[in-house]
Every structure is written in C-alpha cells, then in structure tokens.
Symmetry: C2
Subunit: 309 residues, 2 copies
C-alpha cells in the first residue's frame, strides 16, 4: 500500500486570531480533527480516496460551525440553497448538485448523481426530484436552523447586501468545506460543499458545484477542493488550473498551487484558497487570505490542524 494522505478545509477569509475566543478556536479545531480522522480512517482501512473525501465532508456538513448543509447560511428568502460536488480521479467521474434544500448531506447526493445518472450537474427542483426518486430524506427546516445564522441574516435581509459567510463584517470569510485524499492505490479524489452566501439572491451559483472551478481530480495530476470568492474561482477555473500547471508546465503540486492561488487568482482579484493532494500523497494547503480552516494528515506522520496564516 502506497502513502495515504488527506487534507480538508472549512473555508477561508479574514479569520483573525484577535477576533477569536479560545473556546471558539478549540471548537473549530475539534471539528476539523473529527472530519480529518473520519476520512483518514477510511484510507487506513484500505478504503478509496472517494469514500474518504465523502466521509470527511459529511462530518463537516453535519457541523453547524461551517457554512455547509447543517450550518448553511440563509438566502434572501430566508431559505437555504446548498451546492456540492465530488470527483473521482481514477476515472474522472463526477457528480454535483446546485440549489438544493433540506438535504442532510449534499455531498452524498452529488455522489449519487455521479453513480446513478449519466449527468454531472443537477440543479434546483430537478435535483430535489432526483433526491426524492432515490429515497433521500428531505429534512425539515429546523435541522438547518442556527440562531447565529438567523440573526446574521435578519441583520442584512432588508439590504441589498449579501455575505459570503457568517461574519457580520464585510463578506471576507468564505464558507465552504472540502476534502481531497490519496488512497493506498494512488487514486485521488476531491469533494466540496457549501451553503452559499448570506442573503444571496437570484439563484447565484458559486464555484463549489462546478467541476474545474471548485473541484477537480485526476490520477494523472492531483485532486483539488477550493474555497473563496466563487466568481473569481469560476473565471480562473482554479481547480483545473492547478492540474494543467502540473501536466502541461511540469510544476510540482506545491508550485502549481502557489502559482494558481498567489499569482493567477490574485491577479484577477480573487481571494481564497484550496487544499490539494497528488497521487504520491503530497499535500498542499494554499491560500491568499489571512486565514483558512484547514487540516491534513498522511501515513508518514504528518498531522496539522491550523486556522491562521
């Protein structure tokens, strides 16, 4: 069995030590650790990278601290619109959903799109119909209710503002969760899930459900999951950019991530970051914001759980 590795993120942005309480910091780190371990155990037991990233993202989706699934922010109508995607680097199969509500784990639904349809991306009501068809339970609103998110929405609902995450300040924190992994067979996979922007309107879709932008995986190069100002990630095609920089320009994983995030994304005005792995089990966690909730672990003893730069 080759080197195994996993990396996860819980969003990037203006996450400053000065604004964090010790209790909150511990809560975030514990949540990251739990998701990391859940994914790592899958790999350790000989499971696939695909299963590992799904499992890690499910734990992050179930945690109200992060803006995905259970912790999803409120849109302009006081509802939730969640997006998720997953990609298997071994065959480049992919699945994604956009604008779903009431789904406990959108990443699991994205995987079903990959496995049970000939499609990659299902959106809105159609995606909900698919979820019902395959027997996914549709949860009541109170599962997703969070007083903090609700107050945050109330504070801006009558404005034209929207926020990328739950900071009451300007939208400088991008709420998304994601995971990438390399399994013992050298297969890579990536998954991303988000609750979108507070008070968002008009069915806006960010980069999270877009293969190539927010998520990409290929055994030839790498697996990438992004978080940040989604529009800039879409226009920069960030996840596939990392792959192309490796495949066509011969850069290493860390060189490619640095080029994509610190130079190319930044040149266009984009903020955020990503986690990435290659089939050899190398890990990179790159971001151009003050902080990114992130963690990684490999079979050579590396283990990190970090928040700030």
């Amino acid at each position: 069995m080759g080197k195994i590795a996993i990396a996860i993120h819980g969003g990037a942005g203006t996450i400053l030590s000065a604004e964090m309480t010790p209790e909150k910091e511990i809560a975030y780190k514990n949540a990251l650790k739990e998701a990391l371990s859940a994914g790592y155990i899958v790999l350790e037991n000989g499971g696939s990278a695909l299963d590992a990233v799904e499992q890690a993202v499910i734990i992050l989706e179930d945690c109200p601290l992060f803006n995905a699934a259970r912790g999803a922010v409120f849109n302009a109508n006081g509802a939730h619109e969640m997006d998720a995607s997953i990609m298997d680097g071994s065959n480049r199969d992919a699945g994604a959903v956009s604008g779903v509500d009431g789904i406990k784990n959108p990443v699991a639904l994205a995987r079903k799109v990959m496995e049970k349809t000939e499609h990659v991306l299902l959106m809105g009501e159609g995606a909900m119909e698919f979820a019902k068809t395959i027997g996914f339970p549709i949860l009541e609103k109170d599962y997703f209710f969070d007083e903090f998110r609700y107050q945050q929405w109330l504070s801006i609902r009558d404005s034209d503002n929207f926020q990328l995450d739950h900071s009451i300040k300007k939208d400088q924190k991008y709420g998304t969760v994601g995971a990438v992994a390399t399994d013992g067979e050298g297969n890579v996979a990536a998954a991303t899930s988000t609750g979108g922007m507070t008070n968002k309107k008009f069915g806006r879709v960010g980069d999270s459900p877009i293969i190539g932008a927010g998520t990409y995986a290929s055994n030839h190069t790498c697996a990438v999951s992004c978080t940040g100002s989604g529009e800039f990630f879409i226009k920069s095609v960030v996840a596939y950019d990392v792959s192309c920089l490796m495949e066509y320009k011969g850069l290493s994983l860390s060189e490619a991530c640095m080029e994509a995030v610190q130079k190319r994304l930044k040149a266009l005005g984009g903020d955020g970051g990503l986690v990435a792995v290659d089939p050899q089990g190398n890990i990179c966690m790159e971001f151009n914001t003050p902080g990114m909730y992130r963690a990684c672990k490999d079979s050579e003893g590396k283990e990190e759980i970090l928040i700030y730069r």
Copy 2:
C-alpha cells in the same frame, strides 16, 4: 485595426449528408450565413468581439432550426430549460444563466448577469427573477413552440430516454449554438447557448453555461465555444483546456484544439466539437463527430459555411 475574425457553430453530431434534403441543407447554410454576417458586420464597423459574439448567437437563438432559445427542445415536463454563457477575453468577465424559460435571448440575459451583477452564474427561478427585475420580457410558450420538436418529445415522453437534440435516432446530435470572435483591437470573446436535451429530467445542466467547460475567453490565449456531450465536456474542462495547452504547453490554436478534442476529450469518451479564435485572428473549427454546423469569416478573405466533415 488588426485582423478581425469570427467563427460560429450550430451543434455537432451524427449529421450525415445521406439524411439531409437539399432544401434542409440550404436552410441551415442560410441560417449560418445570416448569423455569421451579423457578427462580422459588428467587427467590421469597429465593434467589440463581445458585441459580435452576442449578435451572432442572438441570430442563431432566433432561428428554429437550432436547439437554442426559439428552437429549444422540450424537457420531460414539456417545458423548456435553456442555458447560456458569455465571456469577455479582455478582462475575463463572464456571465451565465441556467434553466431559464420564456427568455427570447438567453445569451443577452447572460451578458446582463455579467454587467449588472457581481455574479457569474444565476440559475432557475432566481435567474428568472433577475430577468424580470431588469425588465426582460418573459415570452409566452407559443413563441418557442415548434411542431417538429413537440412530436419528437411526444415520441419519447413516456420513456426514460432523453435526446441531446432533435434526431429521433439515438442522441447523436448535440444541439447548441455558439460564437467566438477577434476584434480589431485584438480582444477575443466567446458565447454559447443551448436548449438542452429532449425529455431531460432532474434539472440537468450541461457544459454550455459553465465557464471553462463550454465557454472560455482570454486575450492571453483564445476564445472557445463548445458543443457536444456536455457531461464529458464538463469533466474534460474542454474550453479552458485549449487555453492551458496554448499558455502552458506552447501549442498553437489549431494544435491545442486538435489535442483537446481529438485526443483528450475522445479518450474520456466525449463526442462533439468547438469553434475557437486567438487574438491574432486565427480560426479553428474542430470536431470528432461526423458533422458540425459551422461557419467562419475573417478580414483576409476567408469564408466557410460547412456541415459535414
């Protein structure tokens, strides 16, 4: 003023001379010529590549022969779901809509998303709400009604089949329209619009509204508009792949298009094609299917209107 160039497509697939009547062939070629001329005149008068591709796609959307806007196929509910995107290579601004209905020209709505919002992609009801907010008329169903499309849908509505275009045979024709252009300033732009798949279910989204997959433009490299088996174009990130092959691997426009369509897309099992231009006004129309409705024109006297290989 530098060399100006435009290329358009009206879909790719199993388009065979043996199945075409002379009258149909003339009708398709006339429609292509009209759209080509409409875009070219914009460039000739010193207009932008962005205006040229929008204008050409509007003409194609208005023509019932092609599966976009007026000629859109019926989905599983007997309704229409249209997608479109547009990208400006000069600043990489982009706009897109997915799952809209009743919009005469989805490409024009995509441009408004680019110009009037901070977003790139709006979907479904949200996109329709945006359209109403900015005063876009919502047309009645009969504008989009076409007896041929309707009969085609009736013939498979009770099955689980769906078709990528109006062929009653297996879904081997991909109905999408698109345009790319280079203006006299050396700016490039791309636009794509589709009516989706006949009898499609579950809010399936193909590559047409996805920046990087179906549409991409950058003055550093090229502008690309794709048509084909959308899921494979998404997983192959075809439009941005052409750009990366040029920028990172140093390929010419035609080498990059051939590599992306004939090798990389094909290796994954994808059928279809694309039109592309670079800032120098070079044109490429590449496809791996028996036919692609296509046309191109430049200021050095090149003019082609073609259907078969």
